[in-house]
């Protein structure tokens, strides 16, 4: 089973939830830190590195000027504008290329070949039955989805997999969510939290994933997140209180379920609910034919 922890708003507690869900698992679990622009799960897990770095590359086009006729087919095809044909020869802008390979396919004169461009790396850490694969984009690279897809090849069918998604609702988040069995949307009970939760709900509904909400920092803000979830028939799976002790443990890089064991049941009960009934939250889908 693949559980993805996502949120619209950043800083709501995705990583806290993801690492603690992994920590309360009794069986071995694979944790993927897909927040590749700023991976931080290892800060809390503090696992042992396997001392290997797997480099992730993207195949990007290289134009052979002697064969390029300047017809512009490649530039016209590329929806990311990564190729320009101002005159006789195509120019490639590697930083804009998503590596789809389409330009090579449409080139009528066979002037395009593909070369590797390094975009980031994957490192692996282990601790107490948790295998953490961490994706890290190289500095200056703004191309998260291919690295997230590379990270997701580490998913093992016989393991429970927990994915720590990036914040937001853009391409990297969709890349992380796609193929999951369940999505946990973490939010906080504030107007910002609600605004971005609504976007995240739209995204997971579009992907047709069963999902539920976890409300973090209960005690701040207002009731609107709860009212929204009630109206939309979205289950609130857990609530984590706004507790200074949690913030202090977090600031030390401590694992919450170990530093403050009184909170452990929140995570183990949440995990139990997800594993036992991975399809609730799909309630509205059952009405469809």
């Amino acid at each position: 089973m693949i559980i993805t922890v996502a949120s619209g708003k950043g800083g709501t507690g995705k990583t806290t939830l993801a690492v603690n869900l992994a920590a309360v698992m009794e069986n071995p679990v694979v944790l993927l830190d897909c927040d590749v622009e700023e991976p931080n799960a290892q800060l809390f897990l503090n696992g042992a590195s396997n001392q290997e770095e797997d480099l992730v590359h993207l195949l990007i086009p290289e134009v052979d000027a002697t064969h390029c006729t300047g017809c512009g087919e490649c530039a016209q095809f590329c929806r990311y504008g990564a190729i320009a044909v101002p005159r006789a020869t195509a120019i490639v802008f590697p930083e804009l290329c998503h590596g789809c390979g389409g330009c090579k396919l449409v080139c009528p004169s066979g002037a395009i070949c593909e070369v590797e461009r390094r975009i980031g790396k994957i490192e692996t850490f282990t601790r107490n039955g948790i295998i953490l694969h961490e994706g890290r984009l190289d500095i200056g690279v703004a191309m998260a989805p291919p690295l997230i897809r590379a990270l997701k090849t580490r998913i093992r069918k016989d393991y429970t997999v927990i994915i720590d998604a990036p914040p937001g609702t853009s391409c990297p988040v969709i890349a992380a969510l796609r193929g999951s069995d369940f999505a946990v949307l973490v939010t906080e009970p504030t107007p910002f939290g609600l605004h971005d939760l609504k976007l995240a709900v739209e995204a997971v509904r579009e992907l047709e994933l069963p999902f539920g909400v976890v409300v973090n920092r209960m005690g701040i803000g207002d009731e609107r997140v709860h009212t929204f979830c009630q109206e939309e028939k979205i289950p609130i799976l857990a609530e984590i209180p706004d507790d200074r002790n949690i913030a202090e443990a977090y600031s030390r890089g401590a694992l919450l379920s170990e530093a403050l064991p009184e909170y452990r049941p929140i995570f183990s009960n949440l995990l139990k609910r997800i594993l036992q009934n991975g399809t609730f939250g799909k309630a509205e889908d059952s009405e469809k034919p």
Binding site: Y80, G81, A82, A84, P86, R87, I91, E95, L96
Partner: protein, 120 residues
């Protein structure tokens, strides 16, 4: 020769738009006939990345020999250079003012982009 001015308006008195890649349109002024036409650039306004590259191809296709704008980034500059299009940066308030500066030789041809790219 035609000169592409970045602008948000539709005549010579319109403001000169400070950004090349994300300008709403280009006023293409023909130095020989002293007439102009407008070229739309709105498809680039909301592009996540690569607006400058597309804008550079747009002015190239429109037959520009020079670009007069506020600022031009490195990717756009590279495409413009490849197409032999001259780039002039100015803080002139209007297209007409920029045109006068160009015609009186008060603008200096840029040898490189004058601002950093947004993504690299």
């Amino acid at each position: 020769m035609k000169i592409a001015f970045s602008t948000s308006g539709d005549n010579l008195d319109a403001p000169l738009y400070p950004r090349f890649g994300r300008t709403p349109k280009f006023l293409m002024y023909d130095l020989e006939s002293k007439t102009f036409e407008l070229v739309d650039n709105t498809q680039n306004l909301n592009a996540a990345q690569g607006a400058g590259i597309q804008a550079a191809q747009t002015v190239s296709r429109a037959g520009a020999g020079a670009v007069v704008t506020g600022h031009c980034g490195p990717k756009a500059f590279r495409v413009l250079a490849e197409a032999d299009i001259e780039v002039y940066n100015t803080e002139a308030a209007t297209v007409a003012e920029a045109l006068t500066l160009y015609q009186t030789g008060k603008l200096v041809r840029a040898e490189a982009s004058d601002v950093e790219g947004h993504w690299a």
